[in-house]
Symmetry: C2
Subunit: 396 residues, 2 copies
């Protein structure tokens, strides 16, 4: 049988390109339920990790200023959205391990959210103050919401979260207002404004069921509560005692409200400026207990099975993690991962917890029950750790 004649060009294509693509395909074809992103704060990069065998899959660079950066996920858990401090919004394809879209959407921003249906991304901006909403697929601008208060002043936006019924909720730091932007009827949102909620809301949280939006106040004690099922009832003040109080203690870092934990009938929250964790009855927001801890708490996180609450601390006590048992409200463990423990993230079903130890340039993985250290990953100045299971949760 006669050999076929084939031009060198075509032969080259078949022999080189094809195997290359095959390799790429076999790399790329994988589930995305066990993926995550770790922010490398100092280098403007991220690492894509997987929690099944606890390895790093790739590093993506060129993401700008990632201090206070946060990460959201597309509803199919293929794409990560990185919200940078410099107004950068970057869409990363975690399967192809590359940046697919990147825009600088403002001068200075502080976090974002993704809509209930996964179609819209919202970003909270400091300079100029406002919220911009983008198409999650293309990052094309969908809506621009300048946060101009009733006196015509533009206000910084903080505490932006997604809420059920295709809503975004956020607070105006300078104006002391809480706004609800409702996208359920299309891309021109219906905006509801709640005024005089308190002085300088600086951060906020939404409960896991997406019902209660709670803003912390920097300018006074207490917090502002909005029931998103009954928004017409307006904003009420809760926990008058929460804040720095009259003593005006030195506050090394205002705690993150995303660091709140709801477990069982309690909410656990960092006391501002005090070495204690507050335990609050989540039905009437009354204080149940104050648990003395190692330092000023920053993140207070409940394990997915709600048996324990993990706490990290502000400088100079930030080498330590402590564990509080939810049933007894007692400290049951204390470990020292190393210098500058910035953030923690549980695996979705709670068997492990990943911990950023910034100044050791390491992320540690611990068994959430035995506290045994299972793995150590090299990460440059790690800060936030975000797993893709967040794509399936309200307010994450």
């Amino acid at each position: 049988m006669r050999p076929t004649r084939l031009s060198p060009g075509l032969l080259w294509i078949l022999l080189t390109i094809c195997p290359a693509v095959l390799a790429g395909a076999s790399d790329g074809l994988r589930g995305t339920g066990d993926l995550g992103v770790i922010v490398e704060r100092a280098t403007g990069s991220i690492q894509i990790v997987e929690t099944t065998s606890r390895t790093s899959l790739a590093r993506i660079t060129g993401l700008g200023d990632l201090s206070h950066a946060s990460v959201k996920y597309s509803r199919d858990q293929r794409h990560a959205y990185i919200f940078g401090r410099d107004g950068g919004l970057t869409q990363v394809d975690m399967l192809k391990r590359e940046i697919t879209h990147r825009i600088i959407q403002s001068g200075n921003s502080i976090g974002g959210a993704i809509s209930q249906d996964g179609r819209l991304l919202a970003v909270a901006n400091y300079e100029p103050g406002g919220v911009k909403v983008f198409d999650a697929k293309t990052l094309a601008l969908v809506a621009d919401i300048p946060t101009v208060d009733h006196e015509g002043q533009r206000s910084k936006v903080v505490g932006l979260v997604d809420a059920p019924r295709q809503r975004f909720v956020f607070s105006l730091f300078d104006a002391g207002e809480i706004w609800v932007a409702d996208f359920s009827q299309g891309d021109s949102p219906r905006i509801t404004r709640h005024r005089d909620v308190g002085r300088q809301p600086y951060d906020a949280l939404i409960t896991p069921d997406g019902r209660y939006y709670i803003a912390g106040l920097f300018g006074e004690d207490g917090m502002a509560l909005l029931d998103l099922r009954q928004p017409d009832a307006g904003v009420q003040r809760i926990m008058e005692g929460y804040g720095r109080g009259d003593e005006l203690l030195p506050v090394f870092k205002m705690p993150h409200l995303e660091g709140w934990a709801i477990a069982g009938d309690y909410a656990f929250m960092p006391a501002v400026g005090h070495h204690s964790v507050l335990v609050v009855d989540r039905r009437d927001w009354s204080e149940v207990a104050r648990i003395p801890v190692h330092g000023q708490p920053i993140f207070v996180m409940a394990s997915p099975d709600q048996h324990a609450v993990w706490v990290n601390f502000a400088y100079p006590d930030n080498d330590t993690l402590q564990v509080i048992e939810v049933d007894t409200l007692e400290l049951t463990a204390s470990i020292e991962p190393g210098p500058a423990v910035l953030h923690m993230e549980f695996t979705p079903r709670g068997e492990h917890i990943w911990v950023s130890v910034r100044d050791a340039n390491e992320v540690h993985v611990y068994d959430a029950y035995s506290l045994e250290r299972l793995a150590r990953l090299e990460v440059q100045s790690p800060s936030g750790i975000f797993f893709t299971a967040r794509a399936h949760r309200i307010g994450f």
Copy 2:
């Protein structure tokens, strides 16, 4: 330049196989967070679906008897495990859209569970009674737990669930026992037996935090409760009034306990044989209310934002779905999807609900708030609908 000589065989390989694989690769490369499986009960097949644009991606056949079939997912959400009634256990690669492993592990089985770390699969068996545990990757047998009671009788196993700390919990129908198999120390489980829990436990549920295991009793009224954080306290009896009572009403179908809903401070559960949904205080398991509904409830499911509870019904009222508002405990809506509404599943963040309408050979997708029908998929005798977000939940 001289053309290169190439044997017809090699040329055939390059020209045919390579493009084929390329096509496969581009198909296969996708996130798995928006995937799901719909069981086609009558034909022993499943459809792989995606919830972002609400389409069917593939049909997989040859899965045996799928009546009462249930589906679990690997922790990376790439593989689905289908537990058949005939003892078949099938691992499906949802990206390659093919069966990767299939075994017949017993003569007759009723559901399974996947361990907290995703490494182990457990299957509950009727004939012969017992639990078999398999490696989730290979389906190789890891442990065999024959359920022989204290009188030496082998017992059917029901109500098998996963629990935190690498445990499986299940009930012995004939023996009236609840067993806990602890795999946290390795593949030879530590078994704890709780005897005399009540006559004929027929199904069970575990609360979303993995703390309370509750078994329904077929042989008497009431339910058996085990606190998995304090197993030494033993099993206690709750809700003495729950069951068929003395009237011995005709029960067309025992309700599924996975059909229970925990929302806010309440548990919503189907009343056995009655046209009502029971509302129970989840702190002391006392009855708070009885809500009259359209028929005998089967599944009672809370929306992810816990604002509503959806209910379907037993024959002959199984053409209808009703919606109960959690805050007011009032019926707020009633729709008629069609003949034989067998199962419902919410999208992970609750914007949509998918509904199996078996005798119309359709699955409907509704907006969970407006109740508008958004899509209709052709599915042969659809029964269970399972989305991959279950991989990240305890007891799902």
